[in-house]
Symmetry: C2
Amino acid sequence: MFNDASTEEIELAMNAAWTAFHAYRKLPLKRRADFMRAIAIELENCGDTLIQTAMTETNLPEARLRGEKARTIFQLNSYAAACEKGEWLGVSIDTAVRDKVPPKPDIRKMLVPVGPVVVFGASNFPFAYSTAGGDTACAFAAGCPVIVKAHPAHIQTSQMVAEAILIAADKCQMPKGIFAHIHGASFETGKTLVTHLYTKAVGFTGSYGGGKQLFDWGNQRKEPIPVFAEMGSVNPVFLLPEKLKTSATEIAQQYAGSITLGVGQFCTNPGLIIGIESEALQLFIQELGAAIQKVIPAPMLHPGIAAAYTKNKANALQQEAVQLVAASAIAVKENEGTPTVASATGETFLNNPVLHQEVFGPYSLVIRCKDMAEMIEVAQQLEGQLTSTLMATDTDITSNEVLVEAVKNICGRFILNSVPTGVEVCLSMHHGGPFPACTDSRFTSVGADGIKRFARPIAFQNWGNQLLPDELKNENPLAIWRTVNNELTKAVV
Amino acid sequence: MFNDASTEEIELAMNAAWTAFHAYRKLPLKRRADFMRAIAIELENCGDTLIQTAMTETNLPEARLRGEKARTIFQLNSYAAACEKGEWLGVSIDTAVRDKVPPKPDIRKMLVPVGPVVVFGASNFPFAYSTAGGDTACAFAAGCPVIVKAHPAHIQTSQMVAEAILIAADKCQMPKGIFAHIHGASFETGKTLVTHLYTKAVGFTGSYGGGKQLFDWGNQRKEPIPVFAEMGSVNPVFLLPEKLKTSATEIAQQYAGSITLGVGQFCTNPGLIIGIESEALQLFIQELGAAIQKVIPAPMLHPGIAAAYTKNKANALQQEAVQLVAASAIAVKENEGTPTVASATGETFLNNPVLHQEVFGPYSLVIRCKDMAEMIEVAQQLEGQLTSTLMATDTDITSNEVLVEAVKNICGRFILNSVPTGVEVCLSMHHGGPFPACTDSRFTSVGADGIKRFARPIAFQNWGNQLLPDELKNENPLAIWRTVNNELTKAVV
């Protein structure tokens, strides 16, 4: 329906983005924020057609898509507010001390945009992590033009959103080239974009294979660039003994819901549940199995994802000493994924790396450890995770410090007595985590701090007040929080 | 004198660091800060022997080394103060909103250390960017154990500083393994350290070749790790027309000093000076040449650096259409570098990438552009730089916006009417810049914000107040600035 962009089309888009960068980065924060709010309005204006197109392309239900669209609009508006507020700029001012030996010069620091950002849309979030999603919003807030590579699984949806962005850009008199929308199902399109001279950063949400490839391309360039890839994880859940003893049934119910929410197609889906062999754990497994059997299968995002789920799950279940606990008793239709839970001992898990891999879909593996020492070993052996969860009483926590610290050390978000699915959009959210959950654990892809992925500090030394950007002027005309001679203040200098 | 560390010794050090990490990261900020201050005291206690050892090993003069030692002590103390103050933790709290649909959970975010950090000492800063230098101080502040690879050019100095750190660690009852000192002149020692499973970040100051190699090793690991390499640059200085017209002689004097300061062995040495053909530029070149002729040569850090300077300078001077302006008229002794200035047209420079490369030492190339358009082209073609400098009147700045923006876009520190040599240690300093000045332009290696290189955020979701770290507790027992529901405050929650 849309042809892959030619090399010439990509070249044109990148050149336009580079030109736009020089104009856009000079615009005041308020102009950037107004542009983001205008995109939110245009998205709203797309109305039901957009939802229906997305339903057709992704198999996601209407309510979910309406919720996701609202979330996308919230992201744009809340990141716009953060952009305008300017705290993310990390402004710091050290005034001159002329009688120091040698004299201390006046130095003032703030973040500036890195340059054009290439964003790869996610298959599982056609709105919130695609064309006008979190990465795009963060890049615009940072002062960077955006080139979106549309996800082939929802190109019509992506095209409609892209048109909304272009209308907003036009209404806000943004520089031409501030946004481009590139179609391309091929490997080459992605590579051309990531390796282009004018691309200065990349945002990606998706599989490990895809993200790692972009990361490698980014690093192998003559001028390496930061590639922020959020690549998902198995999101381990640790059931601590005292908590499990009192709440096995309740946790089983809660997790049957979390495992199968959105047909398991969330990067925060709990793919691994770890307990210690006991009657309570048996009860938990039994109740979880019973609940999973009742879950009604639903279509997955696209045939490729459904096929991969079936294949990866089969592979996991075929591993030695892995037992099927239960699967949904309801027959699946085309493109649907059967909710499934399996189980294995701690020893089996520790000795088989295949079981550490994510099975993207409504699947979870329960690990039965022989004791706390083995549970700690499992935690220590796990790779980096977006989230880790403890189901625990206060006593469980205070009396198992080694486990708690080991679990904390591998994750970006550390949850207590809840489920990892559901990622709140707020400043305190961290959606990232040690590799392979993402390629740079120091940054988040959810929340306004995600803006910092696409900005770098610059220090102005010895500039006269009248020549400085407003953010750094003595008068503090933007009334932002700044660190002046090591003290946070909104005061004038 | 010291043998290269064996694989077994490195393995022991890394295992000890990993064990220490689990204890050290739980220590309160105050304990970390006390440890850093104790190192400063032990460095002071090393007394004159340390200075004399460094003089023998580096050829640097006593006054410079005393100054650098004082700077190193200042770094340790000021980063300790910043560590304790806790603003760098970026604490953010979003309290629960139970009646939201779905309910908003309580989420609280702060930075936590990444793990053991390998630090490579710099040849040109035996104290401030070596064993107990900026990278080590930042890593300790972040909560990370440190493994220093001693620079082969000053191993005795490094050994003495390492012993001071170990005494401080002992006095402060730090976990065993918090610090290790590894000798090794070979390629393999560095590679073993960077690729070790327990190494979680790398700090480096030195050449492009060395830094890029570490960066590649870091990225090629199964679990890639951040490698922060500060690799120097040519630090272009742009002479704008109006300023040059009135101040050619004065600027020439100022820059003769900056080019030859410390025998040109600073990463911020001005290696490129760009002006527009005019009588004023001719006067500037003539005066700079006259001043350079009078500079007394001095010994460089070690024979390797002196040999490289002679070779790289000869190569630059042999390039087509490059003219020697002047060299020191005083004969050089062994290991000394002759202060030298050359000149070429803008066209010559634009067409010869060799002239864009740093010649580490007391050398600078003056570029004579035919007009402002060509000066802009030079700025646009330059690679990433630690610093860029404008020598300009206010009118020069306001009437040459395209140039100013182009120059700003390539640098980490943007200086007006001063010299790039001399890097103030303060929070507002940014010592970094786009590649190839350093491997990640989003971080600094000077100033307390350098701590953030070695830390990552973690979000606690749904934790009870009593179980949270002190930094995140409602009562704010550490009295740090925190963003609570999007507002900066020191108040209790």
